[in-house]
């Protein structure tokens, strides 16, 4: 008998001494317990993953908002009074402030004479 045949016999013997075992009573319930545990675990993992993704998206949006330059006129570069000051058209200023555009008669500016 050559080695090949001896090895075949040995494998066969190995099969004989290791028959299919009878599963224990807790085998199938154990499977369902593991399935439930993995379901819960995957729920927590997916929830955490979603939370992280949402946070990252928010950070990205805010970051973009901060670094993006606004076109002229859409962003208040000066205060309201500064804007008024920049306006040289007195009529417009007067209209805005509801004041007469011409000096009222009798009301002369007081000039302080320097000694």
């Amino acid at each position: 008998m050559d080695s090949e045949q001896k090895l075949d016999k040995l494998f066969y013997a190995f099969r004989s001494v290791n028959p299919d075992p009878v599963p224990s009573a807790g085998f199938t319930p154990g499977i369902w317990n593991k399935i439930e545990a993995r379901r819960r675990q995957s729920f927590v993992v997916s929830w955490t993953r979603n939370l992280v993704a949402a946070s990252a998206s928010l950070c990205l949006v805010f970051g973009l908002f901060l670094i993006t330059p606004f076109p002229n006129g859409s962003y208040p570069l000066a205060t309201y009074l500064d804007s008024l000051d920049d306006m040289h058209d007195l009529e417009v200023v007067a209209e805005l402030l509801k004041m007469p555009s011409q000096p009222v008669d009798g009301l002369q500016p007081v000039l302080v004479e320097e000694e």
Binding site: S3, D8, K9, A13, R15, N18, D20, P21, G30, I31
Partner: protein, 209 residues
């Protein structure tokens, strides 16, 4: 096929009672295969449960119910492989902590507690496990599926999704390595191997491949 395709389809749709029937139909076979693949009776149920858990979560990816058995075999192979890989790491670290004398004494104590028949069975297991340890975990599983489980090359082709010739080459090389180790046997192991072939005990049927 131990179940009909309709049952597989129902389980795919999430029918838990259909899935329970699948477990009932295949659990014994899977337990047996896992037992012969990993060689550790105490861990067999745990690994087999892992196979069915993986099956549950991957069943929706199975497109053809006809491929159910190769699919299940594939999951079995993957679970056994993962177990062997982890076990190898653990064994290496544990054995490095023990002196050779301690290992021999531990073996001796374990063997005195067994009957002669159990002892002989344990010897066969140990002998085959030591021979299979000459090849990688992947080749060990492949060789066991072919030589011990009796899967045909066609079936293995479906399980591994590789071409038959590649499988033949791999099986041939793995078998040659095991044969070399078999030729180097000495002492009790050589006597056991001789007695198995000489006495005809546990002899192999002539009609097997």
């Amino acid at each position: 096929m131990l179940v009909d395709f309709e049952l597989v389809k129902s389980a795919q749709k999430g029918d838990e009672s259909a899935y329970n029937q699948l477990i009932q139909a295949y659990r014994k076979r899977i337990l047996g295969t896992i037992g012969r693949l990993i060689g550790k009776p105490e861990d067999v149920e745990d690994v087999a449960q892992e196979v069915f858990v993986r099956l549950y979560f991957s069943l929706d990816q199975l497109r053809e119910p006809e491929m159910f058995e190769p699919w299940l075999h594939r999951l079995t192979v993957n679970s056994a492989y993962d177990y062997l890989r982890k076990q190898r790491r653990r064994t290496e670290s544990r054995m490095s902590d023990l002196s050779e004398q301690q290992v021999v004494m531990a073996d001796a104590v374990a063997s005195t507690n067994q009957s002669i028949e159990q002892d002989r069975r344990a010897q066969v297991r140990e002998l085959v496990n030591s021979l299979l340890s000459e090849v990688s975990d992947e080749d060990r599983i492949l060789l066991t599926l072919k030589e011990v489980e009796g899967l045909s090359l066609k079936e293995l082709e479906k399980v591994y999704k590789v071409n038959e010739n590649a499988l033949k080459v791999r099986l041939f090389r793995a078998r040659q390595r095991v044969l070399k180790a078999f030729g180097r046997l000495s002492g009790d192991k050589a006597v056991l191997a001789e007695s198995l072939s000489a006495t005809g005990q546990l002899s192999k049927d002539s009609d097997t491949e």
